[in-house]
Symmetry: C2
Subunit: 410 residues, 2 copies
């Protein structure tokens, strides 16, 4: 499937009768919308001439101070001078890549990794080399071996891109021992670490983990976001970077957009200053925990034998693996015909891997819909297994179109 | 002066006692802030779950339809499918440059041209070649000769970047005959035109000019913005592009920031849908016309002989030329010491030109402050002329610091 086919498919998948386990949209309806409305009105009334004007390329100073307070929850000690506010953390990724990457440079990334990051790396013609993961995150030995092999081949590694906590798409978390090992390996090899942490405060079972940046201020660029703890519609993210990198980031920011929206920055600042934001994050955690529980329970009961999946301790995603011989991308049109959608695994790799995998999100649908979605998905996998057992393969790539759904071939 | 010195100087220049004729900030306080406040509160109350959520990479469809209506005022017939909403038109510039430029490619631009565009072109390692201008905008013969010379030298021209209407910084407007000539020259030479038009609706003396894009939908990428007709704090701009370019723009947009803020897009959409925006633009026009008149009248009365300047028919800027032997950048520290600031001309060229020029903005200060600023400026130029007549030169670059102001040397 090419990009346009995937777009067509997701257009169908966005119909209300389809349970989408595909998107990573936070459940913003859980916010106190009346209070947010009052807050932005108050902002325009009291500080309209600032909120509606151009701002600085680095971002609003008061907001950068508040961001430092948010990061303190993960053990980070930093000052506002080292923070750059960006248009979502996606823009921070884009600017970091712009600064560091020349065509052909190597970026190390977990396999699987966030599709939006892989797209940005490839837009700058970086070569992505994946590092193997298990249920405790990326494997230090694999990282060390890969660095040696890449450097021995004469290639330049610019940075390791990692989502250590509640990873997208795998849902796993790098444990504390490995965090220290990964930092040590990267320090020895002279490889910068880009720590992307949009989900860190959304853990279900314990206090926030200590960020990698907390233990290595000079070796780590940390990316954060209000998209999951408040709302993505403001597009307010940030980078915390060592001083020399931060200076380059501000220049790149000015070249890219002049400055971020003063309005949305001040709205986020006002929210943090006047609302019980820690309580709101707690209520998001409870909401998403209930949905994760619904998904895991449904998977346990309904999925055919031979399927496996991760058990996330926070964040938005479960990463599922299908039995041998099945292809999640080839299966997607049939799934959509059965009114359930997911993201096939291949998009999370740059090397063609991921065919037997899929990302299932539990962040947006309500628990009953999640259960119904998993029920439909399990039925589709059952059919695929019957096809495999009859013909030696499940759905073939490209053979099942959106308009000629599965049952015709079953 | 290096960038850090300029920053230090402008930090001083932002003190309230300094009349800044430097910045290009629109006068947003003229907006009906109470109505804007109600409007954003209403937006959250009625459409919060959309305004706070991720949006599409191309931008909100309803807003793109409204943008087409805005562009119709300049004779442009276009559909929303060819519009991409961007983080200010600066981002549109960045994405266009990203798509088209390989290092060493040539961009043609008026001399002088917008400093933010020149910065972006240089960030992508484009080579900027300036085209001469006069009071009627860029000179077609100069464009034609430059294209021939550049192509004869075996260099690749990717596009002509032009601000045809109320140009930044020159304040001049490309007349209608020349618009046709420029389009024809570029069409023949296979050179794309990037028409940047943030000020087009802010004309003082007549109805909006017909955009170049209106006469050549396939040869022109048009950039627009709500920063000057509404407020820069939303950072909502756009590109209207031929279909193949538009597709690449959307992909580049998604890679750069995923999507623009739904909140600010919907706020602008709500403003256009519920407020008398044409009347608001009219009132901005009257406000800026009064300020332009104040500046031109003060310049006429106060500036020493040998100085010349443009007479803008709209927009924000006057471009002034100093007598032979003076250097506007060297003069700036003395001017700041005398409590007036401007932007020296060299920043608007990539080839070192512009020493005798400066940009004077009349958009932000009130008329009385403009008159006072010009009075101070005229005094500084007088002193410079005395220096020149005594020593054969005005202030020398680097010899006059912010903390050792002019009078010590006079």
């Amino acid at each position: 499937m090419v990009a346009s086919e995937i777009r067509a498919l997701f257009a169908v998948a966005s119909r209300p009768e389809v349970v989408s386990l595909a998107g990573g949209m936070p459940y913003v309806t859980a916010l106190p919308l009346d209070l947010v409305g009052e807050l932005v009105a108050d902002l325009v009334a009291t500080r309209g001439s600032v909120a509606l004007q151009y701002g600085s390329g680095q971002g609003d100073l008061a907001l950068r101070e508040q961001i430092c307070e948010v990061m303190r929850m993960e053990g980070i000690e930093a000052g506002p001078d080292d923070v750059v506010v960006t248009v979502g953390s996606q823009q921070a990724l884009d600017l970091i890549t712009r600064i560091f990457i020349d065509p052909g440079d190597v970026v190390l990334a977990e396999g699987p990794s966030y599709v939006g990051a892989l797209g940005t790396f490839s837009a700058y013609q970086a070569k992505v080399v994946h590092i193997a993961m298990d249920d405790h995150g990326l494997i230090p030995e694999s990282l060390e071996e890969t660095i040696s092999a890449v450097q021995a081949a004469g290639e330049r590694i610019k940075f390791l891109y990692t989502i250590p906590t509640f990873q997208n798409p795998a849902g796993v978390t790098l444990n504390e021992v490995r965090r220290r090992q990964v930092l040590e390996i990267c320090r020895r090899a002279g490889v910068l670490v880009v720590e992307d942490n949009p989900y860190g405060l959304l853990g279900f079972d314990r206090e926030p983990l200590r960020a990698m940046r907390a233990d290595d201020p000079e070796g780590v660029v940390y990316l954060g976001s209000f998209s999951k703890t408040l709302a993505p519609g403001f597009r307010v993210g940030w980078a915390l970077a060592p001083h020399a990198v931060r200076q380059k980031l501000v220049l790149a920011m000015e070249s890219a957009v002049l400055s971020h929206s003063s309005f949305t920055q001040l709205a986020v600042g006002q929210y943090l200053a006047t609302q019980p934001w820690r309580e709101q994050i707690k209520s998001f955690r409870e909401l998403y925990r209930e949905r994760r529980d619904a998904m895991l329970a449904a998977l346990d009961v309904l999925m055919p034998p031979g399927c496996t999946w991760t058990r996330p301790g926070g964040g938005f995603f479960v990463w599922a693996t299908l039995p041998e011989g099945l292809d999640s991308k080839a299966m997607l049109p049939r799934a959509v015909a059965e009114r359930v959608a997911f993201v096939p695994g291949t998009g999370f790799y740059t090397d063609g891997d991921g065919k037997r995998h899929m990302r299932l999100s539990y962040c947006y649908p309500e628990p009953d819909r999640i259960r119904e979605g998993v029920r439909r998905l399990a039925g589709v996998v059952e059919q695929e297994l019957q096809l495999r057992d009859t013909f030696g393969t499940g759905s073939m790539p490209g053979h099942v179109g959106v308009d000629t759904p599965g049952p015709d071939l079953a």
